[in-house]
Symmetry: C2
Subunit: 496 residues, 2 copies
């Protein structure tokens, strides 16, 4: 709770007028203004940053969403939209002078059509609830962020959420067919279509991942996929992180697209194993978890291929799950890495960067060198198949300087991701957490296009302001602008 926006002592201009404007349009019980009611909304999953919103509105239908946005546009009041509040980059942190628009009550699954393998849902529907509703038809919704039990599809759309199965089944953007969106002017537009392609500019793709800056979703049509008949995990040990990294590249190069392909380094394995007893190899410098799913014949064939690739890549030990129970146990270790970190370290900072897969080994080695430089330990769990890194920097906020060192360590990892041709976020978004690193990732010209594109949807600039796109002044203060020619600054790094 270091970076805390002060609670407004007086109600900001516009909010009182807004309360008047919403009378008769939004029921009184849907509007919260007392501190004890608004407190639960002061942050999302990035609890380092908090701001008490002067007003929370929880509409019950689309008409009320339209009324709120029209009133905010008329009174020039900023709007921050919130799904389930599980985001990790502060995208749903409230604005001190604005409305927090919570969509939790828009939680109906409107229809499931097994013939077209689609579902029409409201934005507050939980990710896992879609799969539960589709289960009787043998279908499920593929993107599975680890928060899937709680996070909502509206939030998934805002952040373009990923998950363990994204390598094979794609990110949110690959699994949404269309979205019904209310603009800040209160206009309703339909983005995308139920058909595979859509004419005109692809507004849906640019909307997905736009972190609440372009409009408010009131309905989405999502793609469902058939549940695979069976699944199996191959677990491979390696005597170096770079050998494991090479093995990941070899799997992909062999033409295999695993259902999931995850990597944990020795620190992560030793952190998790005493907690979960997943059967992990404590002597390995790194392990890979590689899942095959499909029909029995496909899985048998693919598992044999995977074993062969890992063997040739120098695996020191291979284990294949022999039952559904064992498969789930193998995954349980990976999925509990974050709570396990909490057991061995007072604090941890979960990073989220993405790199081209070929640089996995090199980046891991660089992180190991940084551990010495910053005097902090780092456990590494990766969506390796996607090149999506989640280094967990372990620190103790009670020790002087460790918080700052952890932040600098994290920033250095993200900048390394950019240098090798990757990005500063894989699936957690930019929000406020990574707004400074945007200065490193993008040129001024590119950010100008972002700003103009935002204004194409949101002319007054009221939707989630001060997030995602840094101002020129902020980048100047941060002291970093993007390096266009990485080979000049970092001559030892190969260009992708």
């Amino acid at each position: 709770m270091r970076h805390s926006g002060s609670a407004p002592s007086v109600e900001p201009a516009g909010i009182a007028d807004l309360a008047v404007a919403l009378r008769g349009q939004v029921p009184r019980h849907c509007i919260l203004t007392r501190t004890e009611d608004t407190r639960p909304y002061e942050c999302d999953g990035l609890s380092l940053y908090r701001t008490l919103p002067p007003m929370v509105v929880l509409p019950e239908n689309e008409e009320q969403v339209v009324a709120v946005l029209k009133a905010c546009a008329a009174l020039n009041v900023p709007v921050v939209t919130r799904g389930a509040g599980t985001g990790l980059s502060g995208g749903a942190m409230p604005h001190a002078g604005g409305v927090l628009l919570g969509l939790a009550k828009l939680n109906r699954i409107k229809s499931i059509d097994p013939a077209s393998a689609t579902a029409v849902v409201e934005p507050g529907v939980r990710n896992l609830a879609i799969s539960e509703a589709a289960a009787p038809f043998g279908l499920y919704y593929a993107p599975d962020p680890s928060s899937q039990i709680a996070c909502s599809i509206g939030g998934n759309i805002a952040e373009n959420s990923g998950g363990v199965h994204c390598l094979k089944y794609g990110l949110t953007v690959h699994n949404i067919l269309s979205a019904r969106v209310v603009t800040i002017d209160g206009e309703i537009i339909e983005l995308g279509s139920k058909a595979p392609d859509s004419p005109g500019l692809d507004l849906l793709s640019v909307f997905i991942g736009s972190e609440g800056m372009l409009g408010v979703v009131t309905e989405a049509t999502v793609k469902l996929v058939p549940k695979p008949a069976t699944a199996c995990v191959v677990m491979a040990s390696f005597d170096s992180a770079s050998a494991a990294g090479e093995a990941v590249a070899s799997v992909i190069a062999a033409g295999i697209i695993p259902g999931g392909l995850e990597m944990m380094d020795q620190r992560a394995v030793r952190m998790v194993e005493p907690f979960v007893h997943a059967g992990y190899d404590l002597e390995a410098q790194a392990i890979l978890l590689c899942e095959s799913d499909g029909t029995l014949a496909e899985v048998e064939h693919e598992v044999a291929q995977m074993r062969d690739v890992f063997h040739r890549a120098g695996a020191t030990r291979l284990q294949v799950s022999t039952s559904e129970q064992e498969r789930l146990m193998f995954w349980a270790g990976r999925k509990n890495a974050f709570p396990a970190a909490g057991r061995i370290s007072p604090d941890y900072y979960c990073m989220d960067g993405t790199i081209p897969r070929r640089h996995l080994g090199r980046v891991l080695e660089a992180i190991t060198r940084m551990e010495v430089e910053y005097g902090l330990r780092c456990a590494n769990v990766f969506h390796a198949g996607d090149g999506n890194l989640h280094p967990l920097i372990l620190f103790d906020s009670n020790r002087p300087g460790e918080v700052e060192r952890a932040e600098r360590f994290g920033a250095a990892i993200l900048e390394l991701c950019v240098e090798v041709g990757g990005t500063i976020t894989g699936e957690h978004g930019v929000g406020i957490e990574k707004i400074n690193q945007m200065c490193v990732q993008f040129s001024r010209e590119e950010m100008d296009v972002f700003s103009r594109l935002k204004r194409a949807f949101d002319r007054p600039g009221l939707l989630n302001p001060e997030k995602l796109i840094p101002t020129l002044a902020r980048c100047a203060e941060y002291g970093k602008m993007r390096v266009h020619n990485a080979e000049i600054r970092f001559p030892d790094l190969p260009r992708f």
Copy 2:
């Protein structure tokens, strides 16, 4: 050649100044202004519409592209970018007062990286040339428009091109990782990244399919995929088009994602068979071609599944290719449908609409009824798995009224596509051909967002003006605005 823009009798304002401005920046041999030199550029694959460009510039490198765009911005000269000129919707038709910017000379394959399965190419590289260059590594570039021997990757990006294999491998948008783009201001921006996800707004997806209205690509990084070990086609006959349509839905519902899934109706089969001798069933009302690709074990298993699904869906005859030669012969019929149409009809009009797969049977029946209404024959070949229709309306332009009837028949098919929840183009783009139907597909609010988004990239509005986004006046003249509630106007059509 009915709709022909008149050749400018005097050089439009700006063009003479432009020739001066480009001196010393673009070599003289790269600038064409004499009518005999510019004539080959007067149209693209939609030869119904022609305009002689006052100047054609064929730059040899990115610096020259920057110089052309900066000069055009300074002198307020419109720019139409052209790849190989194989587009079917007039997207590369020149502007009577502007520059035609041809990128054919930017045709280098800069690198192929088998470890990351990517290639870096210039925009003028032909689609098939990428696969040929990647073949020694066992890789290929998946999207395969039927013009792939000639069309360029830059044009594929402009149109978001598809092909027979898009059902399994995706459209162009799913196979491009990043693009280097020059804006009308001459700024260079990088869209997307080599990593799977990219922070900030997804500018790459909105750029792909934007039909030359946002910027000019000078380099693209494309995804390559491993060549499948084997492939096999199942050909199924049905005694009605709707039974074949149902069978398509059943294949997808069974969880099979075929490498290709194509449909031809009896008129198309009887048109093609005497020409190609592919072994098609002339008694069937419709046939399906369903391809499985992968390892031998996968293909064997999947072909058995496909046979089973078709059998249960009421197939009257099943043939499975027993050799690579026979597989290619099965496809040869489908791929030669357009030339075959040319043998039996003086003229034909190839349509391109997309519908949700479940409506295939219903839409086919409606097209049959329209044949009577408009007094013209229509042969139907479909990318059935994608729900992408290519009805071929057969007519004779020498018979009075047939051209107009063919156009009205085509427009009616596209509007039917919209009514059942589909779109007015599957893979050929809007260009000038379908600009009127955009009025039916989108609301004014949605088109306003398109316009503002275009201006976010192209402030002066000089890139491919008067294409893709219709003006309000045009829609008023066309007399059609989008119907928001299809169930009111067409009570007999189910809502998707």
